[in-house]
């Protein structure tokens, strides 16, 4: 419990699962959820290095900015997904290829 490697391992697993979701999911909302997993993994890393590197509070400020960006990203991404749904009647991101040549 009091070891940096434990937290890095958990964060690595979270990041890899998020990556798996991003590359395999076809639903736009599911891809968004996987991106949130990746951002959480990055935050755990920031706080773990802050805690084991001499309690440096700068890591906390960075994690706070990541949370702010995640909130903005979720709002805009869902607005885009709802727009895609209104135009195509689907959010399967493989079917949304209207701009393709």
């Amino acid at each position: 419990m009091d070891s940096l490697a434990n937290y890095l391992l958990i964060s690595a697993i979270l990041f890899s699962l998020g990556l798996f979701g991003v590359v395999t999911r076809r639903n736009g909302v599911a891809v968004l959820m996987s991106v949130e997993l990746i951002l959480n993994a990055a935050n755990v890393n920031f706080l773990a290095f802050a805690r084991f590197g001499g309690m440096n509070i700068s890591g906390h400020v960075y994690a706070l900015f990541v949370i702010v960006l995640a909130a903005a990203e979720a709002a805009v991404a869902l607005a885009i997904i709802i727009n895609i749904f209104n135009n195509f009647r689907t959010i399967n991101i493989d079917d949304v290829s209207e701009l393709r040549q």
Binding site: M1, L9, A12, S16, S58, V61, A70
Partner: protein, 164 residues
């Protein structure tokens, strides 16, 4: 006891994250994401980040998760109960993920990390506030502008208008 709680929280986090990316039902994915966020909150508390833990609950569980569930409800015909979604190329993705976990885990376990002195702070809120308004004032203001832009952009994008 603390050890057991730590591993329990870690297990909940990892297992529910796995549920998020493998579950067939989109709603089950969203509810699993709730447990992942709560587990990450527990990890924050173990990392002495009390303020960030509260922010995580308020913003992720109270904001982003509700937004995601709204997105699911708005992009599926409620009359058709079948809110399912499939994955593709799970084999290749699984191999890539296991390779990622192995290489990152090897790196985490074998790097001689520098260790600083670890004195548990009474609370971190005052220090975060001081840093935000002194060292990180410009990023702080940029983040507020970004949130304003996201607010306006999201409402403009999702609004139904016929007059262009």
């Amino acid at each position: 006891m603390a050890n057991f709680v730590f591993w329990f929280i870690a297990g909940v986090t990892v297992l529910s994250a796995a549920m998020v990316v493998t579950s067939k039902s989109l709603l089950y994915s969203a509810y699993s994401l709730l447990f992942t966020f709560l587990g990450v909150t527990g990890l924050y508390i173990f990392l002495w980040a009390d303020f960030l833990a509260v922010v995580q609950v308020v913003v992720y569980v109270g904001g982003i998760l509700v937004l995601i569930i709204f997105g699911i409800m708005l992009t599926n015909k409620i009359t058709s109960v079948n809110i399912s979604h499939t994955s593709m190329q799970k084999g290749v993705g699984g191999v890539v993920v296991i390779g990622f976990i192995a290489s990152l885990g090897y790196m985490a376990l074998n790097t001689p990390w520098l260790a600083g002195v670890n004195i548990e702070p009474v609370e971190t809120t005052a220090a975060i506030g001081r840093l935000l308004l002194m060292d990180y004032l410009l990023p702080f203001e940029a983040a507020s502008l970004l949130l304003l832009g996201a607010l306006i952009g999201a409402t403009t994008l999702s609004r139904k208008d016929d007059d262009g």
